[in-house]
Each structure stands twice: as C-alpha cells, then as structure tokens.
C-alpha cells in the first residue's frame, strides 16, 4: 500500500485503510495476559480511543485474553487532532474509575511516534512509571522493570499502582485462536464518550500542512575523476 497525501494537504488518505492494533500495544496486551496467566493479575481491561473501527481492535485484544473492553468514542475532526495529552487524561480518569493497579501502554504508536502517553498518564495520576520495559517481574509487592538502555540493562523498582510502557523485546504477542475469537464476541465491551469522563478533546494543535517528502533527484554517471571534480565545483561542494 502506498501512502498518499490528501490534495488539500490536511493529512494522508485513510479511506478504506484497514485499522489494526499498534504493534507496541499488542505487546502491552500480551504482557497483561501473561500476568493474568501467572495469576499475578485478576482482571484485564482494554481501552481504545477512536472511531467505530476501534471496536474491532478491542475485539482482537479480547480474543488474545483481555476480559473486557472500553471504547472511548472519538471521531471526525477531533480524532484527527487527538493528542497524547487527551489520551493520557482519558486513561488517568478510567484508571481511577476502574481502580487499576497497572496501566500498560505501548511505548509509542507507529504512526505519530509521539512516545508521550505513558509519561503523561503517570504524571497526571502522580504514579511511578517504568518506561520502555523489556521485562517485568513482580517481587515483594513491587514491580521490577528491566529497560534496555545504551550500554546495558537497567533495572528499576516501582511501587504499585504504576504506569508501564512496553518495548519491542518485552514479549512476542500471540495469535488469537479461533475458539478465543468466538468467545471474544461475547465478552463485554462498553462504549463511553470523552464527555462522560469529563475530558475535553478539543483540538490543541492545528495541522498547517502535510507534505510529501522531497523526491530524490536522479544521479548521473561520470566517466572520470576530472568530470567529478568539475561537477563538485559546479555544485559548490569543493573550492
């Protein structure tokens, strides 16, 4: 599939494009399911903020082993300008309502690459954060989060409740199997609006223009070094 910029330069063409779960969020879901399988966690709730298609993504999470889903419906122009700050406020509010002990998010989304949601959610809740987790263990009522940093691994201890963001090597997400896909259809999925949660999702940014990357200019093959030097001088690359 080829990404095309809309003629009015307000964004990229997304009509008819299939939605799927952000890969880092898939890792987050997998980790939550593993925590439940290890009997560390009791219940898993998946949250997705977006248009109607978000429900398909939630069903995938349910089929992977999540217990119930919450769809925060945001569509149209508000969805186009939805920022990590909005999502963080929604997650913080839901975490309080649901009395969650851990929030696991993917470290970043692969379209905007913002990498802000975990950090801002932790700040809003005033919870500790373990970002870019490549391994999570629960020891003595605390979480040990191992992070891949330059030059090695860093282990940090965080008290619960906490926010964790999943890095690539945390786990390899499972495929949802047919029996579980069928079971997932019967699992509860609640729909709420940001308004219900008291979160204002009005745009805080304005997209001025979305442009195609500049096209690369064709190269030329030169016969010898002399010609290369002439070309370099013409281009002002050498004196």
């Amino acid at each position: 599939m080829i990404i095309r910029v809309k003629p009015d330069k307000t964004g990229v063409v997304t009509d008819g494009v299939k939605h799927s779960m952000n890969p880092f969020d898939e890792i987050a879901v997998e980790e939550a399911v593993r925590l439940k399988e290890k009997k560390i966690a009791q219940e898993i709730v998946a949250v997705s903020c977006g248009p109607a298609q978000s429900q398909e993504t939630l069903r995938t999470a349910l089929a992977m082993g999540v217990d119930r889903g919450i769809h925060v419906e945001i569509s149209g122009t508000e969805y186009d300008t939805l920022q990590p700050i909005h999502v963080s406020k929604i997650l913080a509010k839901l975490a309080e309502d649901e009395k969650a002990d851990i929030i696991i998010v993917g470290k970043q989304a692969i379209d905007d690459d913002a990498n802000q949601t975990a950090q801002m959610t932790a700040a809003l809740l005033d919870w500790p954060q373990g970002t870019f987790a490549s391994k999570i263990e629960k020891l003595n009522g605390e979480l040990h989060v191992i992070r891949e940093i330059d030059g090695g691994l860093e282990t940090i201890k965080v008290k619960l409740p906490a926010v964790v963001s999943a890095d690539l090597r945390l786990n390899e997400p499972r495929y949802a199997t047919l029996p579980n896909i069928m079971k997932a259809k019967k699992k509860p999925l609640k729909k709420v609006s940001p308004k219900d949660l008291g979160v204002d999702t009005t745009a805080r940014i304005e997209v001025l223009s979305v442009e195609d990357p500049p096209t690369r200019q064709a190269g030329v093959i030169l016969a010898d070094v002399d010609q290369l030097i002439i070309k370099l001088k013409e281009g002002g690359h050498v004196q």
């Binding site: 898993i44 998946a46 009395k99 629960k138």
Partner: protein, 518 residues
C-alpha cells in the same frame, strides 16, 4: 494480587510496512553460506551430460559483444560472473565466462544473431529463482541476463492490460499496478527477485492460481527473439484473438529453449478491497481434503488461495527461520485466503465457514487475520518453507501434480523407503487447491545414495497415478530424463521438431527441457 490492569490499545491505521522480501533474504543467504566455488561444477556432478559441439568463447567474441553493448554491460570479471553460474538452490554450477546485460529487444536480437552465426550456446537468465536448474549455464554458455530490461511500457487502466519488459521484478510490477487499483495475476514466494519474463518462460504457478488461473490465460501477448535474432511480435493486448496459431504459447513455459521473451502483455485483475487469511490446524490429511471441499463450497468466488503444509514443512520455516508458530502442534496446517470487494460480506462468509468447520471437528484450531501486517506474517510461514529447507543442507525437491485422493500418500511411502539415519526431513506442502504437492527431502550434504532411492521412484509412482512429474517448476536441467513419465513419445517427437524448426543449431538454453537423445 492485582485487581485490574488497564491497557491502552490504539487502533492505528495500518500503513504498509514493507517487510524485506526474498530479494534481501537472498543477500543474507549468499553471505552466510559457502562461497559459490565450493559447489561442485555441474559438468563434474553429472558426468553423463556431454557438452554440445558449440564454439568456445574467444577474445574476438568478447570484442564483438562490446560493439553491441557498452563495455560495462559485458561482464567478464570471474567474481562478477560467479553469481550467474549458480542457481538459487545452490545445486548446480555452470562455468560461463561472460554475462551480457542488454536493455532492449534490439540488443538481444543482435546478440542472438551473432551467437547463432558463431555457434555460441546461450543461457537466458531472469531473477535466477528457478528450482530445476534451468536458469544457469550447464557448461560455458553465454549468460544473457534480462535484469536491466526493466521498464514498463504501458498500462491500460480500463482493460487492466500491462505491457512491460521481461526483466521487471514481479513485486515491483505489483506495486506499480496497485496504484491503479490492480494486481498481478500471479504471486509466488520469490516475488521480490523473480522477473516477469522468467515467470512467463517457465509458466510459473504460485499461490493464487486457484483464483486467477495460469499464465497461459492471463498473458495476452508476448514479444520474443528467436535463436537467429528474428523478433517475433505477438504482443497482442486483446482479450480475444483467434487469428492463426497461438504462437505466444510456444514461449510460455518453454523455458527459454525456443526464444527469449523480451516483452509481455499481461491481464491484471482488480485488486481486492478486503483480504482475510485463516491459518488452521488439522489432524489428518482427509480432514485437509474435507476442509478444501467445504472452503470451495462455503467461500465460493472469494476463495483466493488454499494451501497445505505438514508439521515438518512448517517446522522448516518456524525452526530454521525463527518464525512464530501461530497455533499449537498439529500433523497438518492449512492457509486459506479470501479476497473480495466487500469486507463485511467476506468476513461473514469466512466466519460461517470457520465456525462450521470447527463445530464439525475437521478443523482443530486456527487463527484468522484481516490486517495487512498479520496477513503478511502468516504468509511468511508458508512462503518461508522453501528458504527454511535450504538451512537443513541439501534439498531434493519434487513438484508433482496428483489426483486429490492420493495427494499426500507419497510422504508416508518415502518415510518407510528412506533410511531415517541418513535423511534430515521428509515433508510435503503445496497448493492443495490445484492438486500440486511440493515434496521435499533434505540431507545435511548431497548424498548420491539417497538420490538413487528417491529417483526415479517418485517419478514412477507419480506416473502410475497419472500425475505430472513437474506441476509448476518446469523441467529445466534437472528433470529432462523424467519428462517421458508425463509426456508421450509422440508429443516428445513433436517438441523436438518444433525445437529444430525454431532453433536449428540448438544454441538456446541447451541441455534443458528436452531429453538428451533429441
């Protein structure tokens, strides 16, 4: 105990993440394995094959080629030529000293005219992804690579007819036509490397044949150059054209022995708006057949692929290429793909089919995907088998067509026939929808004794069941002695006469397709 975990999942629009296709994978293979000079020369491994009485390449010839092509497109450096001498499976190695890289039909015509006059044998080569040793020289044939013949001539958006040069890479063509809402009518594991000219010359099949038919149907026209340099223009782009003999069929599937394909006109169907893939686990081969039958009935016109693989075949991809197996261990797996114009409609059909197959117990477990990234990783399991098998060592590869009822019976038969301590893996996978089984045996190193136990046994067995000894891979160099198992003497005689007529000196891809006595 934690009461609850809240996870945030974002439904993101899936933009194409172009995974590295076979093109790049091949690069890795070359660097990680032995140097090409470690592979035994074909002339040594197959002492029964005699070099024809062709001229030896001389400095005079090289000079003349340099007058036809700019010198950078006449490759004579031994290291550069080496890659063109070895096939992708690394089972045969020729000893050519020269590779020519024409860009136009006229250049190919001039090259062939000269070679014919000088009695120099030639070996046409596309992406060199063939599996029967047809794309590399046997002795010292002049290699004519079509790699630089990669321009697209035209695309008619309304009729979907694409006209392009022979050296266009299949995947590049597919990306190109996808901008116009079209797709290539064939798809195969080697798409990132193989060229359309090679696909046409070998009448390549692949994973969508069940839906879009063979190239004999979708190729509307061909331009080819005969051995004497004459350009045969049958580049019609008409869907219907019953005027005279259908000469294009002489070039489709004749593996470069009657002419070199230089341009093709190919009918591209509209690309589907919705694609779903199900990966299923089954207990018996009878269940596989039953599922195929149900899939045809339940999915009807949206069924676009129906593939099977046994546990050991899948294991070649999962263990050797470190891919994740999506479901538990089962003796058989199937990959079923639907392509259609209405996602909701397709999903409903597929769900009904899967629910009833699960309920009746013929399918034991499975998973399903409709997102491009997941679909790609499921296909990678099926398409990665060929490459995964290479990691075992030496691969004895058979590609046979059989009636569905006896499709898989050869595998248990071979398992009792071959000594377990000598053989690494005996496995089967393939296009169950088309009755086409890829039978593969691997050993750590080439073992002539094992080969003797497999051949001609497999061919005799196939022939007895009225199957074909080569369903889609062709005859190439490897199977010339076995063509008679699937073709009558009278047809072979006619083939030999056609060859004599079109290439009297036999310079085009010698030692391939037809048995030596002809």
């Amino acid at each position: 105990m934690l009461r609850q975990i809240l996870i945030h999942t974002v439904a993101r629009r899936t933009y194409a993440v172009n995974f590295i296709q076979n093109g790049a994978v091949r690069g890795i293979c070359h660097s990680q394995w032995c140097r090409s000079s470690d592979i035994e020369l074909t002339s040594i491994r197959y002492p029964g094959v005699q070099r024809g009485s062709y001229a030896q390449l001389s400095e005079k010839h090289v000079q003349h080629f340099r007058s036809i092509l700019p010198s950078e497109r006449v490759v004579t450096d031994a290291d550069d030529v080496a890659a063109y001498n070895v096939d992708w499976l690394r089972m045969v190695r020729g000893a050519s000293q020269i590779v020519l890289k024409p860009k136009t039909t006229e250049e190919i015509s001039a090259i062939l005219k000269y070679c014919n006059a000088e009695n120099l044998a030639v070996c046409p080569q596309g992406g060199n992804t063939g599996l029967v040793g047809g794309s590399v020289p046997v002795f010292d044939e002049v290699v004519i690579s079509t790699s630089l013949m990669n321009s697209i001539v035209s695309l008619d958006e309304l009729s979907g007819v694409l006209v392009c040069q022979a050296g266009c890479i299949l995947e590049n063509l597919d990306s190109y036509v996808s901008q116009y809402g079209l797709m290539m009518p064939l798809d195969l594991g080697a798409k990132g490397t193989c060229q359309i000219g090679g696909n046409v010359s070998t009448n390549a099949g692949g994973i969508r044949l069940i839906r879009y038919g063979s190239l004999q149907g979708s190729v509307l026209g061909v331009e080819a150059v005969k051995a004497d340099g004459e350009v045969i223009d049958c580049l019609s782009s008409l869907k219907k054209d019953n005027t005279g003999y259908h000469l294009k069929h002489l070039f489709i599937g004749s593996e470069g022995t009657l002419g070199i394909v230089t341009k093709v006109a190919i009918q591209c169907p509209p690309s589907p708006k919705a694609v779903n893939v199900a990966f299923l686990g089954l207990n018996t081969f009878d269940d596989v057949l039953q599922t195929f039958k149900e899939a045809k009935r339940g999915l009807g016109e949206i069924l676009s692929s129906c593939e099977m693989m046994d546990l050991l075949a899948l294991d070649a991809a999962t263990s050797n290429l470190k891919l994740q197996r999506p479901i538990g261990e089962f003796p058989f797996y199937m990959l079923i793909e639907t392509s259609g114009s209405n996602g909701t409609h397709d999903e409903e059909k597929l769900t009904n089919f899967l629910e009833s197959s699960m309920a009746s117990g013929i399918v034991r477990d499975g998973t399903v995907a409709s997102e491009p990234s997941r679909i790609k990783s499921m296909w990678k399991l099926r398409e990665g088998i060929t490459e995964g098998l290479l990691h075992d060592g030496y691969v004895y590869k058979y590609d046979i067509s059989l009636p569905h009822s006896s499709f898989y019976a050869i595998i248990p038969e071979l398992k009792t026939r071959l000594p377990a301590e000598k053989v690494g893996r005996i496995c089967g996978y393939g296009h169950v929808g088309d009755g086409n089984l890829h039978l593969n045996v691997t050993t750590r190193k080439f073992d002539a004794a094992v080969l003797k136990m497999i051949e001609p046994f497999v061919f005799e067995w196939t022939s007895k069941l009225k199957g074909s000894v080569s369903a889609e891979h062709g005859i190439g160099f490897k199977k010339t002695q076995y063509i008679h198992f699937s073709k009558s003497q009278s047809s072979l005689n006619l083939m030999a006469n056609i060859k004599k007529l079109m290439d009297p000196k036999g310079i085009l891809n010698p030692y391939k397709v037809l048995p030596a006595q002809h």
